[in-house]
């Protein structure tokens, strides 16, 4: 299956199968819609392309996943950030989980039966992720986890969690686990985010027992596991997001009250720039080249252009964000996080300075 064949078939299928979201725009409604979209796409096969057969996929190049995300995002069928979570979770499972575990679990995420979450950040460890202190201790055939995670997106809906915990000192003392969220000892407390939804949670671990066969990689591989989410987060999942932003920009064009052409042009130019850059990154991935620190450039361009878009929305639709409860309000607010999550813009600039410009240590 090549890209154009896939796209043509998918478009025809989407014509015949209406997946338009219902009126419930709440977080629970969005999660429900996400499950519905995944289920329908999985049953029809579209969701399975680009993933290997041994995890329930139908094979083919990874770029097919980017095309699928683009078509979904362009039609605004699913919230892009949640939809794209698959891209940061499944590749990790493929690379690091026991093959039987990956084969059992991955289809449940792809087919919409389950939600998973990513438990990396802690109250004391955000940008400095390597300082995390949630502990995992070996007891016989099991590991026992104690500690706390925070900002864990969708944890209240999740059946599983990719968790980082400390098993020793330093970078080599971090280990990754694949955890069932219904394990005794886990407490999830949703946090109301600024855009009015309980987007993420605090997750507390009190003597939570994880079987040893739920290790991702070996003991001490956690830092590599954390790094392994990068390539697809920075390619496929960015592509989804960019296409979502284009769709929203079209709405802005239709609704803009203030015809400020300079502002519209500058906003579009930012999106176009991020899109062109991301396109180049995907080409490199498709050619089998490794992705590394240069994707920090993509991250800064995307975060900046996303905020620029919503700044322009607020300027050209006066009052829409502040005085109406249209979709623009939560989206505007959510865009403020675009330079924070997934490694803040400052952290990206640090990486660019050190690794791409060779400026030495701070």
């Amino acid at each position: 299956m090549d890209v154009s064949e896939f796209r043509t078939g998918l478009r025809a299928w989407l014509e015949d199968n209406d997946l338009t979201p219902g009126p419930d725009g709440s977080l629970a409604g969005q999660v429900e819609q996400l499950g519905r979209v995944r289920r329908a796409l999985f049953d029809a096969g579209w969701m399975r392309y680009g993933w290997p057969e041994h995890v329930g996929g139908l094979g083919g190049p990874a770029v097919l996943r980017a095309v699928l995300g683009e078509e979904i995002a362009s039609r605004e069928l699913a919230p892009p950030n949640f939809y794209a979570l698959i891209e940061v979770l499944v590749p990790t499972m493929i690379d690091y989980a026991r093959p039987e575990l990956a084969a059992e679990m991955v289809p449940r995420l792809l087919n919409g039966d389950e939600q998973w979450c990513q438990g990396f950040s802690e109250p004391g460890s955000g940008s400095d992720l390597a300082s995390l202190s949630t502990r995992a201790e070996q007891r016989g055939d099991t590991w026992v986890v104690n500690g706390q995670k925070v900002w864990t997106s969708l944890a209240q809906f999740a059946q599983r969690c990719v968790l980082l915990a400390r098993t020793g000192p330093g970078h080599g003392g971090i280990t990754a686990f694949f955890l069932d969220m219904d394990t005794p000892g886990i407490t999830v407390r949703p946090i109301l985010a600024m855009h009015g939804e309980e987007e993420f949670c605090e997750v507390f671990f009190d003597d939570v027992v994880i079987p040893a066969d739920r290790l991702l990689g070996k003991v001490g591989d956690g830092w590599a596991v954390a790094g392994s989410v990068l390539p697809f987060e920075r390619s496929t999942s960015f592509w989804h997001r960019i296409n979502h932003l284009y769709a929203r920009f079209d709405h802005l064009l239709a609704e803009a009250v203030d015809p400020d052409e300079g502002a519209l042009g500058a906003t579009y130019l930012g999106l176009h720039t991020a899109r062109c850059r991301s396109h180049g990154t995907q080409r490199r991935l498709a050619d089998g080249l490794p992705l590394g620190p240069e994707t920090s450039v993509d991250k800064v361009l995307l975060g900046t252009s996303e905020q620029h878009l919503y700044d322009t929305v607020r300027e050209l639709l006066p009052g829409a964000v502040e005085l109406t409860d249209s979709q623009w309000r939560p989206e505007y607010l959510y865009s403020r996080a675009a330079t924070i999550y997934g490694g803040s813009s400052e952290i990206q600039r640090n990486i660019i300075a050190r690794r791409l410009l060779g400026l030495g240590k701070e």
Binding site: V3, V63, A66, V67, E70, W239, N243, Y246, F249, D250, L253, A254, A256, P259, D260, E261, G262, A263, L264, G265, A266, Y268, L269, L271, H272, T273, A274, R275, C276, R277, S278, H279, G280, Q282, E294, V297, V300, L301, E346, Q348, R349, N350, I352, A353, R354, L356, L357, G358, L359, G360, K361, E362
Partner: protein, 278 residues
């Protein structure tokens, strides 16, 4: 042309650009190297290489004329009137020797017109002939590559300075404010280059010129700040690049003007065009 051949061509170009005097002498060397044939047969390789290197090396040739003439289906080797931001018309003269010393005025035929960057043989004329769209687009892509090349030259100078200059007992490259300015410069230049690589039709060429102009101005601002006092002198090379990008940004439409034009087009069409397809 494969990657190895392209590298080789790049090396030859860089060599003549760094060893030949700017202006007519360099024009001659480029012709000897096969510029007319390259432009006719492989413009997608030749234009990014030649114009990117004009920027990086800081030299000047009059090949912009050729790019525009060729795209308009005319013979190369001559000149044509070029629109400049604000409604001016210019001619990029071919046989003008650049001024011998920094800061001197161009010896352009009219003599009366002082360009900020005296190494550019630009002459103001009363009126001009609007360029056909494809010629305008080709010229914008070429200037885009030149602007990004100049931006990279400025970034290289600022980076070198940041590593060499010590204050408060350590290299200024260790200060985060300095590092982030240079990182932002690279982000802008890389982004602009991505738009140039995907510039195909008239509108995407306009977008690329706007992105490149903006990126070069960002580079100028940040690099000037990092080079500080020394960068403000005419004893340091930075000012040549800054003056150049200020002038080139306005040629065939400034980033500001083009950005407005982008917005006007979008408003008219009511849809944001998607370039860069997977």
């Amino acid at each position: 042309m494969d990657a190895a051949e392209r590298d080789l061509l790049g090396q030859s170009l860089r060599k003549i650009m760094t060893s030949t005097a700017a202006g007519p002498a360099l024009d001659g060397e480029l012709t000897d190297l096969g510029w007319p044939e390259l432009l006719a047969e492989l413009p997608e390789v030749a234009v990014p290489l030649v114009f990117g290197l004009l920027g990086e090396t800081g030299t000047v040739a009059s090949v912009l004329n050729d790019v525009i003439l060729a795209a308009a289906g005319q013979d190369i080797g001559g000149t044509t009137t070029l629109p400049y931001a604000g409604g001016s018309w210019l001619v990029w003269d071919r046989d003008v020797e650049p001024p011998a010393e920094a800061g001197a005025e161009s010896s352009g035929p009219t003599g009366a017109f002082a360009v900020l960057d005296p190494a550019l043989p630009l002459r103001r004329v009363e009126a001009g002939e609007p360029l056909v769209e494809s010629a305008l687009a080709a010229g914008r892509r070429a200037l885009g590559w030149w602007l990004v090349g100049s931006g990279r030259a400025m970034l290289a100078l600022a980076r070198e300075h940041a590593l060499a200059r010590a204050q408060f007992g350590r290299p200024i490259a260790s200060f985060q404010a300095v590092r982030h300015k240079l990182a932002e410069t690279l982000v802008a230049l890389e982004g602009a280059e991505a738009t140039l690589l995907l510039a195909s039709d008239d509108f995407s060429s306009l977008l690329a010129k706007a992105a490149a102009g903006q990126a070069a101005l960002t580079a100028a601002k940040h690099c000037q700040q990092v080079l500080a006092g020394i960068g403000y002198t005419t004893e340091h090379a930075l000012h040549h690049h800054i003056e150049r990008v200020l002038v080139l940004d306005g040629l065939l439409g400034s980033s500001k003007q083009l950005t407005k034009q982008i917005g006007a087009t979008l408003r008219r069409d009511q849809v944001a065009p998607r370039y860069a397809h997977l």
